[in-house]
Amino acid sequence: MSHVEVEHVTKQFGDVTAVDDVTFTAEEGEFVSLLGPSGCGKTTTLRMIAGLEMPTEGAIRIGGEDVTDRPAYEREIGMVFQHYALFPHKSVGENVGFPLKMRGVPAAERRERVAEVLERVRLPDVMDRSPEELSGGQQQRVALARALVFEPDVLLMDEPLSALDRVLREQMRVEVQRIQREFDITTIYVTHDQAEAFAMSDRVAVLDEGHLAQQGRPLDIYESPQTKFVANFIGESTTLSGTVADRDGKRLLETDAGVTFELPAAPGLADDRMTVYLRAEKLGISPDSSGATNEFPATIATTNYLGEKTQFFCTLADGTELVVAEQGFTALDAYDAGDTVYVTIDPADLVVARDPGQDESNTAVDESVA
């Protein structure tokens, strides 16, 4: 039995389905991220776990207990909000002590526990300050301390780092992870930032327009995306679909774009419709043909030099667009718009999946309700 279980949860706001039959779990002490673009229903899902929204259908269990119908204040969850939601009229100490006060902890003990937890988030000596006097990163720590001080069953975080600037965000990423490990608390973390989700999480659940697209370890999600959406959302990739054919003992995928790939020994029979996801950074580019397997010609449309990497936006013979990314590329002068280049990919790097083209039935979701 998992510590947090979200089972077939659906949330409708009027005619809009914000979350549609989502099921996932988090184990005791595990760090699970809900990842997806804005409007995918991740925040609504988190708010249902918190008890701030009631699901239209489905069940939520925490520690084996069904909490679906319980209001937020009877759920024992700690939540960190996007803009921290610290109470401006209370001092830092009163903010952090608030959940203890609500649980009838006497003032003296409250002060002790608040001091202790502030120590643990490395923010001592701010008890009597107003939260408004603190920096963004410090407010973040106060919000965390407040959500942890009463030893809740689950920690929920809603894009907690999005209000910070980039450098601080990356520092806090490490810090949040450290605190989560130290408190050993089951954590569900909402973000739209793939790097953030991958860096911090044990497992990631990717949401797409209210549906759960995939749940798994970051590695699995990256290396074997199960839907076109996941493949495109996690990093840049190009999707080509085609029909499987067996020729000369090799299994080939003849794509509609006119490019043929040699597939590794993978599922799929002859005449099946299959799709390959070509990760931009797994593609190679060269001005001349080397005759390798899985090499095909393309025409450069635009080149973007980004410093750490360079993006080539190319077109295939039939007009299909393709992105190639090269790390630490310096030979920029060799490539001009309009040049014909040869793109290669190692068969092992090909991500192949059943063509999802026909059975996509997603409903549109309005982010404003989330």
Binding site: L52, Y73, R75, G78, F81, H83, A85, F87, P99, A147
Partner: protein, 269 residues
């Protein structure tokens, strides 16, 4: 704003004009204070000397002190009633959606637009004909109606800027809806509510036009007494009384504001 003047001179001109208008706005009130210390029978300018005679006359007049007390009771009562009604309806108008919201919210501003004489006459006719006596309650009901728009508009403004995730945070931290309201919502909007109620207090305290129809001899308020004195015998007691009223409505709130160190009034301006 002549195009011939250089920028700084033009700005000096604007600043100078503004200064003169401040004088126009505030000087007459200073004259009242100044003249209140004048010993002679007729209010003259410039004052002939310094004396507290008229303050003494005011403070020994049971009639005037009674009127002051009536004003304080009515103003405090109206501020509380309008505060509660204004707060609750502002919550409804900001946080909920319903039909005809705009039309209905303009209903709450109506007392600002209609002449207080009309409201005074209409409420008098209505309440006396349904059998109500002209007592404190009558006055508080009337004044609450007149000042409700001010509380409503200030609380509403405060609620628009309210981050509701703070309430959600309180819920997740173990407070029920009522505790959340008491611990988080109310303290956060307190400045707006306080400012609105203060405004309600001072407006009710100084209201004359509608009040003249609502009083009976036992409930005569301070502004009514001033009006009577102005119309009958321009006595210098008026100046002393006016100065004391200004201390109550302007001086004390400002002093409290600074002393309590919150400086809500000074900052909100």
């Amino acid at each position: 704003m002549s195009p011939l003047l250089p920028d700084e001179r033009r700005w000096d001109l604007i600043r100078g004009t503004t200064g003169l208008l401040y004088l126009f706005l505030l000087l007459p009130l200073f004259v009242v204070v100044l003249v209140s210390f004048n010993p002679t029978q007729y209010p003259t300018f410039p004052p002939d000397g310094f004396s507290l005679t008229w303050y003494e006359a005011f403070l020994t007049s049971d009639r005037l002190l009674g009127a002051l007390w009536n004003s304080l009771v009515v103003a405090a009562g109206s501020a509380v009633v309008a505060g509660v009604v204004g707060l609750v309806s502002a919550l409804g108008f900001v946080r909920r959606e319903f039909e005809y919201k705009n039309v209905l919210s303009s209903l709450l501003f109506l007392p600002m637009l209609i002449s207080p004489v009309v409201i005074g006459v209409a409420l008098t006719a209505f309440l006396t004909d349904v059998g109500m006596e002209k007592n404190y309650i009558f006055l508080i009901l009337g004044h609450s109606t007149l000042v409700l728009p001010y509380v409503f508009v200030t609380v509403r403004a405060q609620l628009f800027g309210f981050d509701r995730s703070m309430e959600e945070a309180a819920l997740t931290l173990g407070a029920n809806e009522l505790e959340t309201f008491v611990e988080v919502t109310l303290p956060t909007i307190a400045p707006g509510l306080g400012a609105g109620m203060l405004l309600a207090f001072v407006i009710s305290f100084g209201e004359f036009t509608a009040t003249q129809f609502w009083v009976q001899p036992q409930t005569v308020t301070a502004p009514i007494e001033i009006y009577t004195m102005v119309r009958t015998s321009l006595t210098p007691k008026i100046n002393a009384m006016a100065t004391i009223l200004m201390v109550i409505t302007v001086g004390i709130p400002l002093l409290l504001d600074v002393l309590l160190g919150k400086e809500l009034i000074l900052k909100s301006a």
